[in-house]
């Protein structure tokens, strides 16, 4: 048995310890906001927070996620209110197809967790692991600045 704490809830799962966290979240727990894009930690669509840091859940065995605080896109909102990063995403109309945006938002949240006032190179570095095929980078950058209170 593997015990995971996801969005504040404990889940006991009878799964292999080497099952990537992504597939435990999507297939076993049934939270589908976290996406599969590449399976090799190259695209960032599967990004979740582990103890506040952005990790690629497609390449993280559930065994390594035990006893950690995992937050997915579904766990960001508080009392039904979107967080400031999500609000900034809506205000800037960032998403196009939207598929990568859960991962983008999680990476942005992790960035702002450690740097409340990121500069351009902080944004480049923090977001370089997240691909957006629709090409929403201009708006992602704007939304991060908005969330940081720069707009």
């Amino acid at each position: 048995m593997v015990t995971l704490k996801i969005n504040g809830q404990q889940h006991s799962l009878d799964v292999e310890a080497d099952m990537p966290l992504l597939w435990a979240i999507r297939n076993e727990i049934g939270l589908t906001g976290t996406k599969y894009g590449c399976g090799i930690a190259q695209c960032g669509a599967c990004t979740v927070l582990m103890d506040g840091k952005a990790v690629r859940s497609c390449s993280l065995p559930v065994g390594s996620a035990q006893d950690k605080n995992i937050v997915t896109i579904e766990g960001l909102a508080e009392n039904g209110n979107l967080t400031k990063v999500q609000q900034a995403w809506v205000a800037e109309d960032v998403p196009q197809c939207g598929y990568c945006q859960s991962g983008q938002i999680m990476s942005a949240v992790a960035l702002l967790n450690r740097t409340s006032n990121p500069d351009e190179s902080d944004i480049d570095a923090a977001m370089a692991g997240n691909i957006c095929r629709c090409g929403t980078y201009v708006r992602i950058r704007r939304a991060i600045k908005r969330a940081a209170g720069k707009v």
Binding site: V15, E16, M19, P20, L22, W23, R26, N27, E28, G30, L31, T32, G33, T34, K35, Y36, G37, C38, G39, I40, Q42, C43, A45, T72, I73, E74, L76, A77, L82, Q86, W89, V90, D93, V94, P95, Q96, C97, G98, Y99, C100, Q101, S102, I123, D124, A125, M127, A128, G129, N130, I131, C132, R133, C134, G135, T136, Y137, V138, R139, I140, R141
Partner: protein, 738 residues
Amino acid sequence: MAKMKKLSRRDFVVSAATASGGLALGLFMPGFPAFAAPAYKNPAFAGDAADPREVNAWVVIEPDDTVTLRCPMAEMGQGTGTGLPMLLAEELECDWSKVKVEFSSVNRNIRENGIYGDQMTAGSRGIRTTWPYVQQAGASARARLIAAAAQRWNVATSECVAAKSKVMHQASGRSLRFGELVTDAAKIKLAQEPAIKTPEEFKFAGTRQPRLDSAAKSDGSAKFGIDTREAGQLYASIMSCPVFGGKLVSVDDSAIRNARGVKQVVKLDDAVAVVADNYWRANEALKKLKVKWDGGKDARTDSIRFAQDYRDALDGPLVAARNDGDAKGVIAKSAHVVTAEYETPLLAHATMEPCNATVHLQKGRMDIWMGSQSAFSNAKMAAEETGLKPEQIYFHQTYLGGGFGRRTFGDELRHAIRVAKAGNITVPLQLLWSREQDMHADRYRPQSAIRMKGALTADGKLEALYIQSACGSIARSTGRKVPDGIDFTALEGIGPSVPYNKIPNWYTGQMLKDTHVPVGYWRSVGGSQNCFYMESFIDELAHAAGKDPLEFRRSLTDRVDSLAVLKKLEEISNWHKPLAPGRGRGISLVDNHEALGGQVAEVTIQSNGEVKVDRVYAVTDAYHVVNPNLVDAQIEGGVIFGMTAMLYGEITIKDGAAVQGNFNDYRMVRMPDAPATVTALALTGGKDEKGKPKWGGVGECSTAPIAAAIANAIFAASGKRIRSLPLKNLKLTELASL
């Protein structure tokens, strides 16, 4: 296969009225709660049966005045799921905050003879060809609501007006909400359907509005095909024969016998799949199979050979696809001929959501959940695959995690159906292509080569263009005949769909050269390679003529749209202001999917010879637009999409199979590469040749120009001319200066 009736606007209204006949129920289902802001409904797809609240098949009005558009277009990011409801609200005169949207029923479209059109979301057609239907739906609904109110008050309809979700009788000051009129309105038969508004009459359409789906796409709740979860659902991962067109010979599954969760191994003619209770288990087991394939003679092919074949094909024989004046004769006599050869490779679509389909095959019925650009034709294909009748197929459209042309063919659906059938799987089955399968089994942007010759007069005017092109045929690859040897998709940008009309002598010869590698529509289609060729070569000609590249383009056209885009571009890019050494500015102008796209790229050549694209100015003339916010997003994104191809994009073939399989070897533009983008509209309005408002499509006209804009900027900065893509294969320091 049922042949779809070609739908005129008039037919559509008649059939819509029929569909809403017999609705004298007066009983309402409990209405949905009112929403503070417009949104997609959840579930996002419409019911498959007529609804008592529908005024016509496209529009439902609830007692609380909520208006729902059954949208015929898929939503893959392009934003027509917001633009089309705006057009509806414009005609219906309803409160925008009460408008919702859902995907129209595919099953109903089959049963009601294409009442929602072909539901094809491709070719930048979302607004460009759908506006008349949506506007008519809104206008016809409004006229029925007014007629119902007039009837109730016993006054003339001409005394009543609709505004803000109410019908008002001006003389008496009475008013009724739309929700109070909808049952009566559904019964109204009009002698004549009302005329729709012209864009000049719009009050709401044309304004900058937020997308309806941003919140759902920012909180994880938006459902894509991959998110389908039905009771008892199983998961499949599949691998196609690596050599396109090859066959499966044998499968040794000894390594996965007793593997946890694995239900079965399913063999198809050209693929093998593993079905399990969790996708990861299915995919891990698939990787452990020992599979023998027969690739046939195509297993001996590779990209180096193909590239040579395309170059050799330029010597002909070619089919004349455009022949104005006497290009050959003028070039033979000209004292100043410029010649260049260019080439570009195969490209993968690489949608962020890998292709997938969920099917539930039952006796006399199949349900499908997937995001498709072509749900209607996919559903008909599903009927053929299963032997069911088309009306027994229930296709539930979801959001698409990117389309770009990939999600039109239904290859993933065909796989899901074949695995379900061959494995006799009667529970819901989700078949998901791994990223590697998605990249290895794509239908790629065709490979091509081109030779271009231009003749300049002594004073630097372009008097003739002579173009020889060899390109893969999408039409042939997708099973259509090309009896005259001319495939528009291979030609657009070098024959038809060009922004210039003052080049007197013009020949384009085409050789459709196919390989065993499947090719398909890829965002901006022929423009993706041809506009790179054309606009790079126009730049070469401008420099050879000693002319400013922008002024040179101006001399090639008197089209109002082309000139408007050039003028705007000149202004916003500070075109005439010199840049520092090592930096360069390049321009490109295209006509793609009936919209003009002009771009100026600014680049810096770094000390190591690498190119940084600093800034892109992008100007669009789509004649009319519904929502500039959506247009901006399409333009910004299209630039990045085309830039990825320019800098990195290349699928190579080795031993008959695609080499690249994931984002580690098929590189994408990422945040640090992304240039600042400045967008602007230069709308020239106007009508088409039939006198109808002219609408351009904005989904692709910014992808086509970017490669040439960057290449021309590199030339301006370094004197190096880029004649083959992607740029990653070239070392600028080793290229000869021209």
